[in-house]
Amino acid sequence: MSTIFPKWTNGLPTMIAGGTVGTLALVVGVVWYTFTPAYWAVGYMPKQPGGGFNHQIHAGKLGMDCRYCHTHVESSSEANIPSVKTCFGCHAEGKLQVYNDSDAHKGKTAFIREAYAEDQPIEWRRVHKVADYVRNFPHHAHVAAGVSCLSCHGNIARMPEVWQEESLSMGWCLDCHRNPEKNLVPKDQVTRLFDVEDLFKAENEAKRIDNGKKFYEERRLAAPENCGACHY
């Protein structure tokens, strides 16, 4: 019946079969790779007012503790963003020696003093978000358990502008809640990011897990896995 199909169609079944498998694999691969927060949320770095708060300088170079600004992290779910007053405490006119040395630096921080003068908050953009059907991430519980800031936020002290380091997906939450020993550190090092940075390198994983298991026992922790722990 050569009138119906030309000869080249003999190869069609193979081509269709191959094409189907290939298309399926492509679709699965694309969905697998891109349909996750790991693809579209990690690296989120919104433009902050005034060029942003430089964590690299403050927490890194100057060695300020996280809790100097995020004051409620040990007592509240929310790791609060400080008010202008906290900024102004250092950045008031004439307070820092560096202002006398360089006008450029002074100009960069002018927006703090302006906001303070106008009695208006600075509109920082939120970087780390969870879905609205999830309770606020309880920072106090995790800090008390000895989970380092670095586990969720990465080494903020190395970020000139804060970006989202982890996916914050439910699978990512569960990964830690099922194996919490991976992220437990000595309690006095929770906010000391440079001290624990080494521990979180791949080659030290065994050591970190050994320590973590000890901490998990000592601190009598029980990372919950039930729905109600995180959802309303």
């Binding site: 119906i4 927060p37 439910m170």
Partner: protein
């Protein structure tokens, strides 16, 4: 083909020895249309009218090529309008939410799951006919298996819609399947609801494969006929609008595509037979497993009325019961509407199916009785109350409760409708006259279909609508959307079936030819004794014939 292998029956007819193709045949009081042979030494003919191989090909292909008649497109228009209700209602549901159904806090499954079980049950006749009857070498299945398989596929399509749309947030329906996701959420592998997803999707896949594979040789016949007509210039149908090709060119292409390069070689047939047997083997456990797993949705719960070990066999018997009723409801009108089909689907086919309905109806009736027995015998007060006061007792037999109020079952009418349709009505098939009367068979099949819908409604709604505390008692009333979605699913089913009748081979031609007398190596052409029916199928039985 006929020039190489002279068809004996055709030769006999051309010689004036056999009767003309469509000569009216009288109803024989002894054998009905000729197929109701009582003599156990004689095999009843499966194709009547002394038909030739050529006639089978011409008739079956003719349905797909020339169309069934003037009634078709108006009927199709009507059913497709009804079918359109379904996507409309689903769209409304998706936009608005499941609140558009009559569900309430207590009755959170109602028509959605009733329809799901109803449709998936109907599909079972197709698999039973194509798989189990094939393995048991029941030759009468050959002329009804294709239609029953088609019906299975369409019923599974209708069925699979309902679990998909009852989830509330339809865009999350993919979570029915265990798909890896960033939320690390999996369906509960210990839940029969997940097993159900696997059971139904396996069933749909295997049934579709079985159906399609059986059609491949017939597609090739349709392809070759269209190609031959193109070459000889005697095409059926003119040029199609928009495409600019003639109908036969489209047919040759489409059937050619579907026939997968089938060339009727012996090797093809050998592989085909093997594959057919393997698929029959794979499908056989599915006949039993699918509805067993559907029944687990209920049986593994702890709800009185659902928590019953009899459910799996009871559901399977019910599915075959309802499935055969639907096959009859489709084939009886087909027989009347398609010329020549009465010779392919004989009275014996209908009678056999009526007998299956009688048997499976008894199984279902036995299950109904056992549920009662167990409710009493177990001494479980909740179980007993579900049956007595949720399902059975009509208002005129109401019993005074401890609080002095009259207790009766609010859904008694549904329960008794089910009993009448499923248990009482098939009893007429004890009588030969009823078993062989087309109006009676059709009426019973219709009643059984209604009864089987009510069975699922009774199981689901009457068990749910009263929980353990009287404060949780709520009646279920269907909303218009409930009703129209179901009506729409019936329309979808009929529309798909009509499309099947119009464009696909309704009969497995090679299989029918296999069970005709001419296929036997011992077949002798009818002796030229003259008179009516020289092939002598009913008067001078050829014992060596099939």
């Amino acid at each position: 083909m006929s020039s190489l292998n002279p068809d004996q029956a055709t030769a006999a007819r051309l010689a004036g020895l056999a009767q003309a193709p469509d000569a009216p045949r009288a109803w024989d009081p002894a054998t009905g249309d000729g197929s109701l042979v009582e003599d156990p030494a004689v095999r009843a003919p499966l194709v009547l009218g002394n038909r030739s191989f050529n006639w089978v090909t011409e008739t079956v292909c003719g349905y797909a090529e020339k169309g069934p008649g003037k009634w078709f497109w108006p009927t199709f228009f009507l059913t497709s309008q009804i079918a359109a209700l379904m996507p409309l209602m689903i769209l409304y549901l998706a936009i608005t939410g499941v609140g558009v159904w009559g569900l309430n806090n207590q009755v959170d499954w109602a028509w959605d799951i009733t329809n799901f079980v109803f449709w998936i049950g109907i599909g079972h006749a197709g698999t039973l006919i194509s798989a189990i009857l094939c393995l048991l070498k029941q030759k009468w299945r050959t002329s009804i298996n294709r239609a029953a398989e088609a019906m299975t596929i369409f019923a599974v399509i209708c069925a699979a819609t309902f679990p998909g749309i009852h989830v509330g947030r339809i865009w999350m329906a993919w979570m029915l399947f265990p798909i890896p996701n960033a939320n690390a959420i999996w369906p509960n592998f210990k839940s029969p609801l997940l097993w159900d997803v696997f059971a139904v999707s396996t069933y749909g896949t295997v049934s579709a494969l079985f159906w399609f594979m059986g059609m491949v040789p017939d597609f090739a016949t349709l392809r070759d006929r269209a190609a031959k007509r193109i070459m000889t210039g005697r095409q059926i149908g003119g040029t199609l609008p928009l495409i600019g090709k003639t109908a036969d060119e489209v047919r040759a292409f489409a059937y050619g595509l579907a026939s997968l390069g089938w060339r009727f070689s012996s090797r093809h047939w050998l592989n085909y037979e093997k594959a057919y047997l393997m698929l029959a083997g794979i499908s056989t456990p599915l006949v039993l497993s699918v509805h067993s797993i559907v029944s687990f949705d209920f049986a593994t719960s702890i709800l009185p009325g659902w928590h019953t070990t009899i459910f799996p066999p009871y559901f399977v018997a019910g599915a075959i019961f309802g499935g055969f009723a639907m096959v009859l409801m489709l084939l009886i009108p087909s027989r009347e509407l398609f010329p020549g089909m009465k010779d392919l689907i004989t009275m014996r086919h209908l009678e056999n199916m009526a007998k299956i309905i009688l048997v499976t109806g008894y199984m279902v009736g036995f299950a109904y009785a056992m549920e009662f027995f167990v409710a009493w015998y177990s001494g479980n007060a909740y179980e007993r109350d579900v049956f007595l006061f949720n399902r059975v007792l009509p208002p005129f037999l109401a019993v005074e409760g401890l609080d002095g109020q009259l207790k009766y079952a609010p859904y008694w009418w549904a329960y008794w409708a089910m009993i009448f349709c499923n248990v009482v009505s098939p009893q007429v098939f004890w009588f030969k006259a009823c078993r062989q009367s087309i109006p009676v068979i059709f009426t019973v099949a219709f009643l059984v279909t209604i009864g089987m819908w009510f069975e699922r409604f009774v199981i689901i709604v009457t068990s749910l609508h009263r929980a353990f505390l009287p404060g949780e008692w709520h009646m279920f009333y269907p909303s218009l959307v409930d009703i129209l979605t179901f009506v729409g699913s019936c329309g979808t089913f009929l529309t798909l079936y009509l499309l099947f009748c119009r464009f696909l081979p309704q009969f497995a031609m090679s299989e029918i030819k296999n069970v005709m007398p001419q296929a036997s190596p011992h077949y002798r052409p009818p002796a030229s004794t003259g008179g009516a029916g020289p092939s002598g199928v009913h008067h001078a039985p050829n014992k060596e014939g099939v």
